[in-house]
Symmetry: C2
Subunit: 203 residues, 2 copies
């Protein structure tokens, strides 16, 4: 490949940028960050919203424990340092998806305000929409889909958010969903309305 | 969100899968892994091919040192362990992009056969196309775009691939590009032909 320096620069100038991709896809990219207690419905909502976005022909992708904790972050535990590094890596991957023009939905307990602020500061305010899945601990504990609250109460799991480790509610989230009482459909609609209001998608 | 267990299962069944996304985008996803010495033109070729794919209305994304080493892997150095962890994380991110339906072009020296084999084994043979950017050390060293070969020869950089650290040529790559003599355009064409032959894209 006889690359003269000038040629090289030309090629770099013709690189595809985020705005190009967004134009091709017909929508802007953004990160929706779903935070809340375990069992508050973050992942379910994220997948339902991704389905709805797909039906609207938008590119959307869900990150949750299933595809991150067992993969990219499989080497990390649940100490404060490891939780922090976990969120840092997710923020980096989300940033790559933003650049690729994809709407990402990140569903993580992410109990610490400082960690969520780190993500927002890194991505930039316009590209980070905080969605608080608000559900009383009692309801989450009653659902106990994975049986982890029981184990946490029995002391078999340490540092479990809501039981033996704090959850810090968002101060000024972009959206609050009452995931104890409202239906999934209404939650999905609220997310779509938010995306329309912020001019990420047009429907 | 009154999630009865059955409802929950229904929502998960309606999750969007890779094949759905590929259908919407009009092409399959795959990973092109560009390996070769520093200065062999991996990144330039990857960006040029991504541009060509974009013009064909395909979703493609480039991973290289610029957007990985300074971000997701900013905590890693160049020891054997760190290089290995670097490749592991890239493989994980590439896997997420595969799942998202995007064609990824990963441009990394990746000098060790075992590391490239790790990526191939992880992604699966059909989803990993190894592209060897073949360029004699003398040519790469003469280009020395970043001035790093000079520093490596002076001993100011240790473990520099090709100088003080080995590069293991691919044994049976999916594509070999003569990046010392051929033009960028011909390299891009060869990549596009490969994608057509493997039925990733149809043009």
């Amino acid at each position: 490949m006889s690359v003269k320096k000038d040629e090289n620069i030309v090629w770099h100038e013709t690189s595809v940028c985020r705005r190009d991709r967004e134009k091709l896809l017909g929508h802007r990219s953004v990160n929706l960050w779903l935070t809340g207690l375990s069992g508050s419905g973050k992942s379910t909502l994220a997948h339902a919203a991704a389905r709805r976005l797909f039906d609207l022909r938008c590119q959307a992708y869900v990150f949750d424990g299933d595809n991150v904790r067992h993969g990219l972050c499989a080497d990390l535990g649940f100490s404060i340092e490891d939780r922090h590094e976990n969120i840092r890596r997710i923020a980096q991957v989300v940033n790559l998806f933003l650049d690729a023009g994809v709407i990402s939905l990140a569903a993580f307990i992410s109990p610490m305000r400082t960690d969520r602020k780190m993500v927002r500061d890194f991505l930039g305010k316009a590209d980070f929409l905080e969605v608080y899945c608000k559900c009383p601990l009692e309801v989450c504990e009653q659902r106990d889909v994975k049986g982890l609250y029981k184990k946490a109460r029995e002391g078999k799991i340490k540092n479990y958010t809501g039981i033996s480790s704090p959850y810090e509610e968002p101060v000024n989230p972009d959206l609050v969903l009452d995931t104890a009482n409202a239906t999934i459909e209404s939650g999905v609609e609220a997310i779509i309305e938010l995306l329309v209001a912020r001019k990420i998608i047009g429907i």
